[in-house]
């Protein structure tokens, strides 16, 4: 009866394999340099070690948060897109209203200056 | 005129609003005019209504005035309505009448107080609540007045809140009253739950059909109602607030102790007499508590040196009498004593107030004495009141007290024991009252020179109410003469329609077992004799004792034997009777009263505080501990649901 779980198993295997291939390729064909920055876990982004009190640019988080929001709102477009023909005009208007609501949010953000760096 | 019943309570309310909202901006003359005028008017109105009621047939002497439907939801209907019947008529007369005199008296007494208008505003509000209480035609409205009275007592007792003792006393009065109210409310709920109505007349007529005679439910209801009465009318064990209540201005004590507040409990029991008649056990409890309180408080009164405290304990004891009367199912006797007591107790307090006024706020009797010649009017009126409360024949107190004693002895639900207790209490009362008189008005003057120089009789506005009350204290009892004196007991007849329902329910309770009048004569004489002896003893121990030294000298110089013997007699009395009693009463006061009963009531408060302190630790302020509590709750709830 376990055959029903094979797809899941296959998913796991695939994930592992792909990860291996990725790192493997980088090991084989990537050329190596033993220089300061290269040895750190992240060569870009926040310094992993150092004073935690160091002020972090809040804008960074702001954008991240806003991204989550707009990104998630978009999922409502998918079910609409699937049956948009069946919904017809009504569905279209509904979706326009929805997008307008999102836009109001967007304008508010603009006015509030949340998207301006410095 | 009967359509103006509602004006009786409303007028004082208007007075309250005027004085309360003006906030000291009005001149004192206007304030006092408004306050006294409003209640004076409602007194006049009460008198008129009384006579209109009297004109009616005894059977038809019930006037209900529905102002508006108050709450009506589903099966639950309560009207905002007033009820005027012989009982409430008596009550409004007493409340407005005595209240009016106290208002007038206060004009003089409080004349120098900064909170003048605030005082009169409270006083009017107090009267208003009390009138609502006695005129209410249903439990709910009565409860409104009931709470209002409690609130005003809180405000008035704590009137001089600069004194910590005063504001504490106010708080104590309030909290203790709440305990009583708890009982009252639950009792009311039970009545409503089983009768389906809160209207007094409906309850009276329906109750006998729904409650089994002497059943558990009705007994429980009555006992709960009685708990309410205990709280308001200061019976054991909830009397503790009353002696402290004298922290307020003296007229307020007079108002609380005489006309209003404490009488509410007695009135409520008389009003719900049908219910109590249905529950003989509850009646018995009422009688026992009443008798016990009467004796207990009287005994404590023997050793107090604060003039107002003596009177306070005396009030508690007299209220015990009233409950004893109700307990032996002779409600009219209870109300009768309520009325006469209102007269002479108000007089006593006002007199004491006048004394304190003259003594520049000295309340300790040991620092008084010989005030007789300085305050003649006060002395005369005070003496009359004392004679009345001691039950000297001919004065009001005698008739009411005698009726209670006789009923407690004779009636079926009474018992000789009750009579004995009442009898002893009568003696003690006479003793401590005359002790008070002798210590205050006779003997040498023990006050310091400064006070002495300022001694003065009180102004007219204070003495006139005293005289009026003195008159009432004398004649007030004549409306209720016992039958054996050949007179008709008008008072009893007047009230009989109110209590007829109850008597119909429980005819057995009222039958007097020993109807023979010779016995009644005998008991009457016995009590009078006891009273006289008590007065004589007081005379010896608080007036003559001071001159014992001189008596000694005379003895040595070979004075007449009789005097000597008499002297021995006194010593004998002192050693055998009075001293033990005094030590006993000291014990009661210091140990039982202050330590045990007070302790219990304060203790319960601390217990709650400790629980609170303990629970507070749970609110650590840490979100994770909150989440843990939350999750535990979830687990318990889910487990509970899974069991199903």
């Amino acid at each position: 009866m376990f055959e029903v779980f094979f797809p899941i198993l296959f998913l796991f295997v695939l994930a592992v394999v792909i990860a291996l291939i990725m790192s493997g390729l980088s090991v084989f064909i990537g050329k190596r340099t033993k220089l300061g920055k290269k040895d750190e876990p992240y060569e870009c982004g926040v310094e992993p070690v150092g004073n935690t009190k160091e002020p972090v640019p809040v804008k960074f988080y702001m954008v991240a948060i806003l991204f989550i929001l707009f990104d998630i709102e978009v999922i409502f477009l998918f079910p609409w897109a699937v049956i948009s023909d069946r919904l017809g005009m009504f569905g279209f208007i509904e979706m326009v209203v929805f997008v307008v609501i999102l836009l109001v949010g967007y304008f508010y953000i603009l006015k509030r200056g949340a998207l301006e760096w410095d | 005129m009967t359509e103006y019943i509602y004006l009786i309570p409303i007028l004082p309310l208007i007075g309250f609003l005027i004085n309360g909202l003006a906030l000291n901006r009005l001149p004192k003359s206007v304030v006092s005019a408004v306050a006294c005028g409003s209640i004076g008017l409602s007194f006049v109105l009460s008198v008129i209504l009384f006579f209109e009621l009297k004109a009616l047939e005894p059977s038809s002497r019930v006037i209900e005035q529905v102002l508006f439907p108050w709450i009506s939801v589903g099966s639950f209907h309560v009207n905002f309505a007033f009820l005027l019947d012989p009982l409430s008529a008596i009550m409004i007369l007493v409340v407005t009448g005595v209240g009016f005199l106290i208002h007038v008296y206060s004009v003089g007494y409080m004349s120098h107080d900064p909170g003048y208008s605030r005082y009169f505003a409270y006083l009017n509000l107090f009267t208003f609540s009390m009138l609502t209480l006695v005129l209410a035609d249903n439990f709910l409205l009565m409860f409104v007045g009931w709470e209002g009275v409690g609130l005003c007592s809180y405000l008035l007792i704590g009137f001089w809140f600069e004194k910590k003792s005063a504001s504490d006393a106010g708080k104590k009065a309030f909290i203790v009253n709440r305990i009583g109210d708890f009982g009252f409310l639950i009792g009311m709920f039970i009545v409503f739950w089983s009768v389906g109505s809160l209207n007094f007349n409906q309850v009276s007529s329906i109750a006998p059909t729904v409650f089994a005679f002497g059943g558990t439910l009705i007994t429980a209801a009555c006992l709960l109602l009685f708990v309410g009465a205990i709280g308001k009318s200061a019976q054991i064990p909830l009397y503790v607030w009353l002696p402290d209540a004298m922290e307020g201005p003296t007229p307020v004590s007079a108002l609380i102790h005489a006309a209003t507040m404490v009488t509410a409990g007695v009135y409520m029991i008389a009003r719900t007499n049908v219910l109590f008649m249905l529950a003989p056990d509850a009646l018995m409890v009422v009688a026992v508590i009443g008798a016990a309180t009467a004796l207990f408080a009287a005994t404590i009164g023997l050793v107090q040196n604060d003039i107002k405290r003596v009177l306070a304990y005396s009030t508690v004891s007299q209220l015990g009498y009233m409950f004893l009367a109700c307990g032996v199912a002779s409600f009219s006797a209870g109300i009768f004593h309520l009325m006469t007591h209102a007269f002479f107790k108000a007089l006593l307090f006002l007199g004491a107030g006048s004394v304190i006024h003259a003594m520049s706020n000295e309340q300790d009797m040991r620092k008084m004495g010989g005030l007789k010649k300085h305050l003649p009017i006060t002395f005369m009126t005070f003496l009359i009141a004392t004679l009345a409360i001691s039950g000297i024949p001919g004065l009001s107190g005698f008739f009411s007290k005698d009726e209670i004693l006789w009923k407690s002895f004779s009636s079926q639900s009474g018992h000789p024991i009750f009579w004995v207790i009442g009898f002893i209490t009568a003696g003690l009362t006479a003793f401590y009252m005359f002790r008070l008189v002798y210590m205050t008005f006779y003997g040498q003057e023990r006050m310091d020179e400064k006070t002495k120089s300022q001694l003065h009789e009180s102004p007219k506005s204070m003495t006139i109410p005293l005289m009026v009350l003195a008159l009432l204290a004398v004649v007030g009892g004549w409306v209720g003469m016992p039958h054996i004196l050949g007179a008709t007991n008008y008072f009893e007849d007047w009230l009989s329609p109110v209590f007829s329902h109850g008597e119909a329910v429980n005819t057995h309770a009222l039958l007097s077992s020993t109807a023979d009048s010779s016995m009644e004569w005998l008991l009457m004489f016995a009590s009078v004799a006891l009273v006289l002896v008590a007065i004589y003893l007081a005379y010896n121990f608080y007036l003559k004792k001071t001159s014992l030294s001189t008596a000694m000298k005379e003895k040595l110089s070979g004075v007449h034997k009789t005097l000597l013997n008499k002297y021995y007699v006194d010593e004998f009395y002192g050693a055998v009777i009075v001293r033990p009693i005094i030590y006993f009463s000291l014990f009661l006061w210091k140990i039982v009263d202050v330590l045990i009963i007070d302790g219990l009531i304060n203790g319960s408060a601390t217990v709650y505080n400790d629980i609170s302190e303990f629970l507070r630790q749970g609110q650590s302020g840490r979100v994770r501990s909150y989440a843990t509590i939350f999750t535990l709750g979830v687990v318990v709830l889910l487990a509970f649901f899974m069991t199903d």
Binding site: P79 | G621, R622
Partner: protein, 101 residues
């Protein structure tokens, strides 16, 4: 023959439990937020599983709504965390206990 619904529900319950434990034990606000999100998604999984079992579409529709709500909560939470960090220089939840008793 498909995967029995119980399997999905067990996984969902497991995720939910992990989320609860996470809320109870983690001191770091961010991890705490993630745990809450985990709980919500566990509920989503249950919804999907049920609507598959009863083959109704309602469940799927609800999941969309829940996702949006989760996103809204997450963003508000993150914003609060930022404010807290600026005022307190820490995101250790145990430090925030000036309001108590």
């Amino acid at each position: 023959m498909t995967v029995p619904i119980d399997a999905y529900l067990v996984v969902g319950a497991g995720l939910f439990g992990i989320g609860v434990i996470g809320v109870l034990v983690s001191r770091n606000l961010i991890i705490l937020l993630m745990s809450v999100e985990l709980m919500l998604n566990a509920a989503n999984l249950a919804l999907i599983a049920f609507s598959r079992a009863l083959n109704l579409m309602d469940g799927h529709a609800f999941v969309f709504l829940v996702l949006t709500i989760a996103a809204a909560e997450a963003s508000v939470g993150l914003a609060m965390v930022i404010t807290l960090y600026r005022n307190h220089d820490t995101v250790n939840i145990d430090r925030f206990s000036i309001l108590k008793w």
